[in-house]
Symmetry: C2
Subunit: 111 residues, 2 copies
């Protein structure tokens, strides 16, 4: 049985089903997971807004679910998706991980 | 600047640098991240044991860091690694995501 944390959330990795690129990490609660499975498109729970959101509801860059995988400890998810539109990241990048962490804690653009 | 959560943790995705496979998700605190960067091998913070552990310290299946990436919101990490040994998962699987979530909340082996 899936283990949601004390806030009722489970961390979820979103991976491009075609390229294998990791696009983002977000949190789901039970309702967001239910909506994701029912609709076939990713939904998440926003901790800052305390609300469920459908990924791409503003931008149109929705994520079509291809596979939902569970880890050994049943406390995280890996969802493989078809990413619609150009970008998964609200900053306009394909992936949210567009920067590298440098030794001095600064960032550089990903090579 | 990196944003650790209220418990001082940041979720970290570990990805095989060669295959792109997502191997696991774990949490780091500042000290685990510092050790990871200093040694070049992943260290995590265990919430259940309240302690830092070096991945592979028991099994020998250590993870050699190739790249540390930061997301747009600076609240998660993606670390690309060379996975030593056969398995990243303590259950003996290459990846912790060896099961698929089924519509009835049961699991099946990943295809």
């Amino acid at each position: 049985m899936l283990k949601f944390d004390r806030q009722g959330l489970i961390p979820t990795v979103i991976q491009d089903n075609t390229t294998g690129e990791v696009l983002m990490v977000a949190f789901m609660n039970e309702e967001a997971l239910r909506l994701t499975r029912e609709t076939g498109y990713t939904h998440f729970f926003s901790r800052s807004r305390n609300a469920i959101w459908r990924k791409g509801e503003q931008s149109g860059n929705v994520q079509e679910v291809r596979d939902i995988l569970v880890n050994c400890e049943e406390n995280s998810l890996l969802i493989r998706v078809i990413q619609h539109g150009e970008a998964a990241c609200h900053e306009g990048y394909r992936s949210c991980y567009y920067r590298r962490l440098l030794p001095d804690n600064a960032y550089a653009a990903r090579a």
